[in-house]
Amino acid sequence: MRSASTNDIEFRAVAKRYGSVAAVSGIDLAVPKGAFVALLGPSGCGKTTCLRMIGGFEQPSEGAVYIGGEAMNGVPAYRRPVNMVFQHYALFPHLDVEQNVAYGLKQLRPRIAAAEIGRRTQEALEMVRLGGFAKRRIHEMSGGQQQRVALARAIVNKPKVLLLDEPLAALDKKLRTAMQIELQSLQRELGITFVLVTHDQEEALSMSDLVCVMNAGRIVQIGTPEEIYDRPESLFVADFVGKTNRIAATIEAGAGPIRLANGVGLAKPARVNGTAGAAMVALRPEAIRLVRDGASTLQGTVTHRIFLGSSVEYSVEVDGLGDFLVTADRRSIDESDLAEPGERIGLSFDPHAMHVFPA
């Protein structure tokens, strides 16, 4: 069955159960050709199961996964036009770097000429900047280098889709940032679809052009990184992606305000529908400004100040609402103007920055 589509990957009503336990259910997802999509969620949310169903290591219990328009039900991993970068690299320890990278090409039938395999292997190694390492043993390579070998071993086959299972989790912070940039430029260069599984929201937001947030076996929101961050559709997404202050509140009927738990009433943001009742407000720390102005809507006491290099993070005990996190960009504030712990301070923010969810 073919579906006329420009989607490289499609999930249609996919569910996967182990015994009576559902790992994922009701998954519908379309990944356009050449996209960089991130499956983001806490551990156990089913993101890896989805990736493994694309790779062919798991078969869906219900529904179907399509790759390049073809239904993949029952097609084993070794007949799928996708390649995976495994979380712990899964390099073959008894083969050297070159043999690892050439492994996939050597399995292809009809056979590829040895010279062609050698050329493409060298090309892939150079692409991940390991040109001079062809004859090295795997255990002689550092973690970051092993990561690149795993990457080269997958891209050398020019797959339709490259699957990445938490590929950067084992690297230190500096190396991780460098690899993020490298992966991104590699993806643009190759023009193939990347599917990345990660629990690191920063990684998902910075690398991908489509983020698919998952929780408890379901997709909870799909969108661009900006949409996910700026317009979370649920408290879960607001909470999981980026830092968030949660404030208990009540939506009053009609044109009435949103009343925070401490009794302060604020104008409703445009997106809030009219349903009255208990609600939860999510507010990003960087949406709040600290002001020395007794007239601001919320007042509090600074309890901690944490220096983060380019920004400063405050903990503020807000009267009647508890602890708030406030982030201030250092460029926008004067050194001498930093609020001190113990200082009484006002909190100011645009009510439209609030995300309101029914509780």
Partner: protein
């Protein structure tokens, strides 16, 4: 305390040391060293009964170890795929098979074989188209079967341990890189478990080569080296016997050491 420990080790190793020492004795005595000589080695190797027993032992050890290595590896690979409960059961059975005393294995194998022959031989007599139907009986075949069966448990244990350390992900990676299950086995799994299969083979060989008890029960009229040694000892311990024992000792130690080396090398590699 130290004296006690020393005496224990003395008790363990002094007899073996004496056997080695007296194998080089120039005289006939097994209690009085009269000079160094390798004459008894020459005499032992010139003894046609001994040489044929040695050949039997080598043939039996090799055949049973090959069978054990092949089927033991297959069993280990198969057990990987069992569910956790069935696997626990087979693990227990495997461990039990190794601790069953040789006497029991000997008797059990003998009884089983005799029962089998009493069933198969009459059937063969009826079904055989030719004049003289073959008669199955105790002999090389039964020793190989008994040794192979026991050693299989040994090989399975060793190979299983290696497979467990292999990790599922390199098998998946191979499959992801277009290799069929058979190719994955040939290119990825086999090269990594080969040292443990070889180690199992060597241990199986050593076990069969040294075994007296089981072989004694099922050998029928055939003679293996340990059976020959046992029989000749009844005519008194000669330096010739010492020479044989020393050779067997050297061969066994060499085999077991190689097996250990094979297993250790893999362990240090996977520990990286």
């Amino acid at each position: 305390m130290r004296a006690l420990i020393s005496s224990v080790y003395l008790f363990l190793y002094a007899p073996i040391a004496l056997v080695v020492l007296f194998s080089f004795n120039a005289g006939r005595s097994a209690s009085e060293f009269t000079g160094f000589s390798t004459a008894w080695y020459g005499k032992a190797l010139g003894n046609s009964f001994l040489v044929s027993a040695l050949q039997n032992s080598l043939m039996i050890a090799f055949t049973s170890a090959v069978l054990a290595a092949v089927f033991g590896t297959m069993a280990a690979l198969g057990m990987e795929r069992l569910g956790p409960r069935t696997r626990a059961l087979f693990d227990a059975l495997l461990a039990a098979a190794i601790v069953v005393p040789g006497v029991v294995i000997g008797i059990a194998t003998l009884v089983a074989l005799v029962a089998l022959f009493s069933f198969v031989n009459p059937a063969l007599a009826i079904l055989w188209p030719g004049e003289r139907p073959p008669q199955l009986g105790l002999g090389y075949g039964s020793i190989i079967a008994a040794h192979g069966l026991f050693s299989m448990a040994l090989v399975t244990m060793i190979v299983k341990a290696r497979i467990a350390g292999l990790g599922r992900d390199i098998v998946e990676a191979s499959s992801d890189l277009y290799a069929t299950p058979l190719t994955t086995f040939r290119l990825i799994v086999l090269p990594q478990i080969l040292p443990s299969i070889l180690a199992g083979f060597l241990l199986a060989f050593t076990f069969s080569f040294d075994d007296f008890i089981i072989a004694f029960f099922v050998a029928g009229s055939k003679t293996t080296l340990p059976i020959y040694v046992f029989a000749s000892i009844r005519r008194g311990v000669t330096p010739e016997i010492n020479a044989i024992a020393t050779m067997v000792l050297a061969a066994s130690l060499a085999l077991i050491l190689s097996a250990r080396l094979l297993m250790r090398e893999k362990k240090s590699k996977s520990g990286e």
